[in-house]
Amino acid sequence: MSSMPQPRTGVIHDIGYQRYEGPRLGRGYAARSLYVHSVRSSFGLGRSAWAKVLPIGLLGMASIASLILVVINTQLPEPVLDYAGIASTFTYAATVFVAIVAPELVSVDLRTNLLQLYLSRPIRRSDYALAKLAALATATFVLFAVPMLIMFAGMAFSTDDGIAGVFDELGGLCVGLLAAVVHAALLAAIALPLASLSGRRVFASGIIIAVFLLTAPVSAALEAFSYDSAAGHLAGLIDPSRLLAGVDQWLFGVDLRLVNVGGFGAVYGLLTVVLIVAGTACALWRYRKVKS
């Protein structure tokens, strides 16, 4: 840290203990502070260099991928991937991201007993759970949004249709960001309650990765057995990544052949909402029970 210029009086005045007479902002402010702090620490800000490597690295890789997409999209007559498509394809990177970040946000607090210090302050247990959940969702949203913004910047500058082309891209970006919100909310609502089960980061990451990885082959196998039947269309519900791809397909018409929802798009949408609500409820329940 750089040292402040010291007044050259040569005397250190100990003014003694000063009582604090200023404002004391309540619970809402405290919860917001925890939220902001948690978003920052998701990317390792305010923490050691090692803590930045994985989250910033993932964000960097996603950004580079998006730059490459800009180049490919501008060279080909039809763009290969639009904004909502980014949401669908980057879901796998985002699952890795939440598996790294969620334990960082909640397991560490359990392990170091820091939770005890939070709970002895004006925030409530539910405030803690919601602030952490919101922080994880926000950080995950950033992971989706940054590549989309890069793509938007690249596409808007290289459009041949003038201002109309820019507005076209802007419309696409808005759709993409909407998809990013859905993806971030679901991934966070699944990962955070899982991470809060263990105080050990490695275990917490393992549980999250396991849920995402183990559901994928089951879902794929089910689909392979019954392709183009109702069961095949519904097979994607089991795997969170394909569930999200299904929602993208239903809402935004993204078809990357990750999943085939057939006429069941609304079921994908409904299950997504149910999972987000259930995940939030689980997180709240978990922190009502946790020992302080």
Binding site: L25, S33, S48, A51, T112, L117, R121, P122
Partner: protein, 326 residues
């Protein structure tokens, strides 16, 4: 002690007031059974052996646990119903490690100040100030993980103090410290209680250690109140000096008794002398010199919590021994 008054503390309401307080955990362990005590402003030592219910009482005071019976009020508020208000005015330093190793101390204390409701700029100022008060000013931009145990304890104290609470709850603040570190920590707690004017409830299982910084003591055992009194009344009769000599203990006992001191036999070759004033030390020295005895040690008796369980004065047998030799 000149500061042995509640006047300087901002409030005169009792810090903690319990009535038939009971806490039973789910697994049927009773941590507190029928505890009725009123803790007045000041530096209060909460003593008891490990498992006596000290930490449980602290957690009930913070509203982290709910009582299963009876009532507890903190700063005249209900810690469960008015949890937010109570916690904004109380600082808590837990017994065990609770710090994130990869955060910088100054940032961590600032963050905790904000969680207590201080605006960002004020939080930063007060974090630096508080770290200075606990003696970590130079090292405040280092990561907590690289701190020694003593420094970590100071950070724990700083985060409890940063929002200028009216009441500090310290759970075994000298845990894991070496003798010098213990002394420094206790001096700091003493300063907080006197110069800063913040009431402190400090838990310890070592009475001898905290008696010198406290204005009153509350002793609990097996979840019940054992004793509650100002320090003067509790330790008056306990201010004892151990005098150990090589031989002729009985002769020394007789000589000291003759000077009007209350003397009892202690261990094999030692005596316990009640010391009401510093002059007693002079008397002991002179008497030993007059009798030409080899003096091994003269030291103030260190009390343990266990001493509070014994009835005072000592056993009749000891008294008889002294009387017989007189």
């Amino acid at each position: 002690m000149p500061w042995n008054t509640a006047g300087q503390y901002r409030r005169r309401v009792p810090l903690i007031e319990t009535r038939a307080l009971q806490k039973r955990y789910d697994n049927a362990v009773t941590a507190l059974a029928d505890l009725t005590v009123t803790i007045e402003p000041g530096v209060v030592g909460l003593v008891g052996v490990n498992g006596a219910g000290k930490s449980t009482l602290i957690k009930l005071a913070l509203g982290l646990l709910e009582p299963t019976g009876g009532s507890i009020r903190v700063l005249d508020l209900d810690p469960v119903r008015d949890a937010e208000k109570v916690r904004a005015r109380v600082g808590y330093m837990p017994e065990h490690d609770c710090l994130p190793p990869d955060m910088i101390a100054a940032e961590f204390v600032t963050h905790m100040a904000r969680i207590s409701g201080l605006p960002a700029a004020m939080a930063r100022d007060r974090a630096s100030e508080t770290l200075r008060h606990v003696g970590l000013y130079e090292e405040r931009y280092r990561r907590i993980g690289g701190y020694s145990t003593g420094m970590k304890q100071r950070v724990k104290l700083a985060q409890a103090l940063v929002h200028d609470p009216e009441l500090l709850l310290l759970d075994e603040p000298t845990n894991g410290l070496d003798p010098a570190g213990r002394r420094a920590m206790l001096d700091l707690v003493h300063r907080i209680g006197t110069e800063f004017g913040i009431s402190v409830v400090v838990c310890s299982h070592l009475l001898g250690e905290i008696e010198r910084i406290c204005t009153s003591l509350v002793a609990i055992d097996a979840g019940r109140l054992l004793r509650s009194a100002t320090l003067d009344s509790m330790t008056q009769v306990r201010d004892l000096v151990v005098v150990e000599v090589d031989e002729d203990v009985n002769k020394l006992a007789a000589a000291l008794t003759a000077t009007g001191l209350d003397v009892r036999r202690h261990e094999d070759r030692a005596l316990l002398v009640q010391a009401d004033s510093d002059a007693v030390y002079d008397t002991i020295r002179d008497t030993v010199a007059d009798l030409d005895l080899a003096l091994h040690r003269v030291e103030r008796q260190r009390h343990q919590v266990a001493d509070l369980f014994r009835d005072l004065p000592r056993t009749e047998e000891e008294t008889r021994v002294v009387n017989a030799t007189a």
